[in-house]
């Protein structure tokens, strides 16, 4: 096992380094599938240039990263600019190894649950049960899926800052599983500080930690018990505290609140309609201006509202809610990219024991492959050749999202 991990890691590093070092990196960072206005490295360099020249990048319309990240990269750029691609490489590798650990912890947790509840299971469910042997094989699979997934290789090579969100979200997952809620909320606060949507992960995070606490106290699981309520409140408060600290720190550094409007305001009100893999740009391009606010609410609500039914149905396994929330964010966020789906794709095998009755794996994977192959082709025909139009491109982003929704429904169903 260990040998294969080394090989996979080397292969993952090699493929990333080759692309990062070639001129493809530049081409990739211009691709709409990989870089959104929020995560584009070009915009980050623009922001760094502005801040170096004493102009606030948040006054313009171009830059939407949070201030702390901007300062971090500005310092990097001033001292060791050559190391910046390596930072991305390092973060991506960290994500991979965090995912490996997540898979390990998660499987151990699921197995212990299964053993505990084993006697209450119906007969003939053998095929749906987790095997002890998968404890060692699945984490390696998770690691290799993340490292060798072309989407994550390309995202890393395009130096998209979604990499940072990914590493933070994965860290949150791991810390939640370990029950270290104090640091889990910190990394969650950092993730939501960068891209806002992960804020919804607080729900499964709090539930899982409460779950762990109740198991520790040998209580039966009930989220209205005093133990659960106190710990959940504590988590909410600590998350708030971290967020307030981060935002105050940003304010102190910039001495203005402009950044709120051009980061979170930008995410929520979707002013930039440059095409991407999501569903927002096409609708808002077509829409009459006076419907805009209404549909903004409708569209943004999708990203948040499904947490409620999911938690109600899946209250027993908050870790799966966490996973579902990742998928929902990837589908319904306002500026999605291929980098969003890499984390949850890698985590998919963890629940593979429940997939026995899951069908249509071929259909869904082919849909995703088709959309990722054809989207650039139609983009070329639309933007460069001038012969196709927006509908062609949108058709394939629709397929991409339908495939995700479809696969997700199946996964939830099979649980």
């Amino acid at each position: 096992m260990a040998a294969s991990i080394v090989w996979i890691t080397l292969l993952g590093i090699l493929s990333r380094v080759i692309i990062l070092g070639s001129h493809f990196s530049n081409v990739l960072s211009d691709r709409v599938e990989l870089s959104t206005p929020l995560t584009s490295w070009k915009r980050m360099t623009e922001g760094m240039f502005l801040i170096k020249n004493g102009i606030s990048p948040y006054l313009g319309d171009n830059f939407h990263e949070p201030p702390l990240l901007l300062y971090f990269f500005t310092i990097m750029d001033n001292t060791t600019p050559a190391l910046i691609p390596l930072v991305f490489l390092f973060l991506d590798l960290t994500t991979a190894f965090l995912l490996y650990r997540v898979a390990k912890y998660l499987l151990r947790y699921l197995l212990s649950e299964q053993i505990k509840e084993g006697p209450s299971y119906a007969k003939d469910v053998d095929v749906l049960l987790l095997k002890r042997s998968s404890l060692s094989s699945i984490p390696t699979l998770v690691l290799s899926i993340y490292l060798l997934n072309p989407f994550s290789i390309l995202t890393c090579s395009a130096q998209s800052t979604i990499i940072i969100t990914n590493v933070l979200v994965t860290a949150t997952f791991l810390l939640t599983l370990k029950g270290q809620w104090w640091s889990a909320t910190l990394s969650l606060a950092l993730a939501s500080y960068q891209s806002l949507y992960p804020v919804m992960l607080i729900v499964p995070c709090a539930m899982h930690v409460a779950n762990l606490k109740m198991q520790e106290n040998k209580e039966s699981i009930s989220y209205s018990s005093p133990t659960a309520v106190t710990i959940m409140l504590k988590i909410a408060l600590s998350f708030l505290l971290w967020s307030v600290i981060l935002i105050t720190l940003s304010f102190l550094m910039l001495e203005s609140w402009d950044f709120l409007q051009s980061t979170y305001g930008f995410i929520l009100s979707v002013p930039d309609l440059k095409p991407n893999l999501g569903l927002f740009w096409y609708y808002f391009m077509e829409m009459f201006e006076h419907f805009r606010i209404f549909f903004l609410w409708v569209f943004q609500m999708n990203a948040f509202i499904y947490t409620i039914p999911l938690t109600i149905i899946l209250w027993k396994c908050p870790s799966f809610v966490f996973f579902c929330q990742l998928v929902l964010i990837a589908i319904f966020k306002s500026y999605p990219s291929l980098g969003d789906i890499t984390v949850y794709l890698a985590l998919l095998p963890v629940w593979s024991h429940t997939f026995h009755y899951l069908r249509n794996g071929l259909v869904v994977s082919v849909m995703i492959v088709i959309s990722t192959v054809l989207a650039p082709v139609l983009w070329h025909l639309w933007i460069y050749a001038g012969s196709a139009n927006a509908n062609f491109f949108f058709a394939f982003t629709l397929i991409y999202n339908t495939a995700q929704v479809y696969r997700h429904c199946r996964a939830v169903e099979s649980l």
Binding site: V127, R132, V377
Partner: protein
């Protein structure tokens, strides 16, 4: 949703697919042939119409009164051609200046890695800009004529009469006040290379291989380009050429407008040598006899990805462009110069009316006749039918490659746990491997030419073909001599090739679908030839079957597929019979076209070589490997 999830429905679907994929495949394949014939017929292809209202072709009074000065220009140019070695740029510039246009010239030279040592190509483009009185130079229309001399003149037909006509029309155009778009008169030297040099300079794009001086005069965005090739004053018909680089086509409105104006001025418009058909011709068997041939010619030309005239390079820059190629008539009397002049005037005045870019009409079409079109909605039907075949078979193999459910042991540490899943661990590395081979093949030309041509004393073209052939043979033979894995269970081997072929089929369907979006004809022709072979290929233990199977696969491998397409073209359009001579001829044409595809890729960004090495070759390679799996029991 219920249909796709309930286990019962699943079973029905899988049994249906398994039972029907073979007969359905044959039906669909024959159906695709019938469908492409039907869509080309009079019954299904629609009549063309002008979609953009602003064009109003032929509605204005023509002002071009006489072409008396054309002959003088033409004769003078011909005498200059005999005197000078290259393009008489000084004289051309002088004439433009006499007319009163802003006149400029541009030098360019080409150097690429596949050049012969002495073959450095240089040239001069001459162009003049008529500044429109009604606009501040934000929009322009290009009137281009290639300058030809020597061997190219013999091969492609003279154009001096076209240049003369251009001068004559420029004289008329400059007197008018209604122009709302600048008109750029462009005389292009060295065909495509000159056009590319000018376009790169105009759009300020740099290239590593074409070195050109900057343009000293510019205008605005180019709305359209019309390229005129007129050999003589006696023109039998005007052949309208649309196919551009990588199979790109101009907006159908531009073509329709030209056809309409030709009819109006009494010049016969033709498309791939076929004129507008008469009523009777269209009624007889729905006109299939004529239309199918024209459409096939159109498709073969589009599939080649090579521009059919210098207009093809304008398309790459999003400029709708078209070539009017005058076919000289054998007769000794008559003079069509005036009529062609009127057509050109009509075209420019129509384009002058445009308020927006060409966008109303179709960009994706094939033409069975000058006044008929087959749009994307119709021609995708046969492509779809063809692509369903690999999809269905892929699905069938997916079901077949499913491992049988073995009861896991009670303790949960099943030793056969690997059998529960399909053999992706075999298929995925193979999939990646063949694509890496494709990339190697794609990158190899430069390597072979730079390191081996001088060593073996080969010319760069020969070195290139030899090198590619060597890599191709090497990669292909690698699979034939692979060792059979004796330890593997036979059942596993069976599943292995099934899953790999499933991957290959699905990937083929996806890549051909993507290709059909860019270049429908190429995708369709490749599909027609490869799909039946890919559908039946499989590994055999029997030696004879195995060899036959391999031979069949080799026949549709990319290099031989190229030969097949060339042979089909020669037999249908040049009337060659199938003989040893034809085969030798096809071979030499294919040998010549491979280096030219590579060079075009460097100079013009031609995608054909990339498509073949990065898409078609890996796809073929997967089928080859899946048919080489050994250790079967049958």
């Amino acid at each position: 949703m219920g249909l796709m999830t309930s286990p019962k429905a699943q079973k029905v679907i899988s049994s249906f697919v398994l039972k029907s994929y073979r007969p359905l495949g044959i039906l669909l394949y024959l159906g695709a042939f019938v469908a492409i014939l039907i869509v080309s017929s009079n019954q299904f292809s629609a009549n063309t119409y002008i979609s953009e209202n602003a064009l109003l072709p032929g509605l204005v009074d023509r002002q071009y009164k006489s072409a008396h000065d054309v002959a003088g220009y033409s004769e003078h140019l011909d005498t200059l051609k005999d005197l000078e070695g290259g393009i008489p740029s000084a004289w051309l510039e002088e004439k433009f200046q006499e007319i009163g246009l802003d006149t400029y010239s541009q030098n360019f030279s080409v150097s690429h890695p596949f050049q012969e040592a002495d073959g450095k190509l240089t040239g001069i483009n001459v162009f003049a800009i008529l500044r429109a009185p009604r606009i501040a130079g934000t929009e322009a229309v290009v009137f281009s004529v290639p300058y030809r001399q020597g061997q190219t003149e013999i091969d492609l037909g003279s154009t001096s009469h076209g240049i003369a006509l251009m001068f004559s029309l420029a004289k008329l155009f400059i007197q008018q006040t209604y122009w709302s778009k600048d008109i750029i008169f462009l005389i292009v030297d060295k065909e495509n290379i000159g056009a590319q040099a000018w376009l790169e300079a105009y759009h300020e794009v740099s290239s590593d291989y074409i070195h050109r001086s900057p343009l000293h005069g510019r205008s605005g965005a180019i709305m359209a380009a019309v390229n005129l090739e007129m050999p003589d004053k006696r023109v039998d018909h005007l052949d309208i050429r649309i196919e551009g680089l990588n199979g790109q086509l101009p907006n159908l409105d531009l073509f329709n407008m030209v056809v309409k104006l030709c009819h109006k001025e009494g010049v016969q418009p033709t498309f791939h040598g076929e004129g507008s058909l008469s009523y009777h011709q269209l009624q007889e068997f729905f006109g299939i006899k004529y239309t199918s041939k024209t459409m096939l010619s159109n498709m073969l030309r589009q599939a080649s990805g090579k521009p059919y005239g210098i207009h093809g390079l304008f398309l790459r820059y999003g400029v709708p462009a078209i070539t009017l190629h005058g076919q000289p008539s054998g007769s000794t009397y008559g003079d069509q110069t005036y009529s062609v002049g009127c057509v050109m005037e009509g075209i420019f005045r129509s384009i002058n009316n445009l308020l927006e870019r060409f966008h109303q009409s179709f960009f994706f079409y094939v033409l069975p006749e000058t006044r008929k079109y087959v749009s994307i909605g119709l021609y995708m039907i046969p492509v779809g039918m063809l692509l369903v075949i690999p999809t269905l078979q892929g699905l069938a193999l997916w079901f077949l490659s499913e491992p049988k459910n073995s009861k896991p042991d009670k303790d949960g540490t099943s030793s056969q746990s690997n059998d529960k899943f399909r053999q992706h661990h075999y298929a995925i590395p193979t999939f990646i491997g063949v694509h890496v081979c494709g990339v190697l093949l794609y990158l190899s030309p430069e390597f072979f030419v730079s390191s081996f041509s001088s060593y073996f004393g080969l010319s760069s073209g020969e070195a290139l073909v030899t090198g590619l052939a060597a890599v191709f043979t090497g990669i292909t033979l690698l699979q034939v001599f692979n060792k059979s894995d004796q330890q593997e269970v036979e059942d596993n081997q069976e599943k292995k090739w099934m899953l790999l072929k499933c991957y290959a089929l699905v990937w083929q369907a996806i890549s051909l679908l993507a290709l059909s979006m860019i270049n429908f004809s190429l995708a369709f022709l490749v599909a027609i030839f490869t799909i039946p072979v890919f559908a039946v290929c499989r590994p055999y233990n029997n030696f004879i079957f195995s060899v036959l199977n391999k031979l069949m696969l080799l026949l549709v491998s990319p290099p031989l597929l190229l030969c097949l397409l060339i042979a089909a073209h020669d037999i249908i359009f040049k009337g060659h019979s199938i003989s040893l001579n034809t085969i030798a001829n096809v071979g030499s044409v294919a040998m010549g076209s491979i280096p030219s595809a590579v060079i075009d890729q460097y100079l013009f960004n031609d995608w054909t070589f990339a498509v073949v090495t990065l898409v078609l070759f890996p796809s073929w390679q997967m089928f080859w490997i899946s048919s080489s799996v050994k250790g079967l029991d049958n």
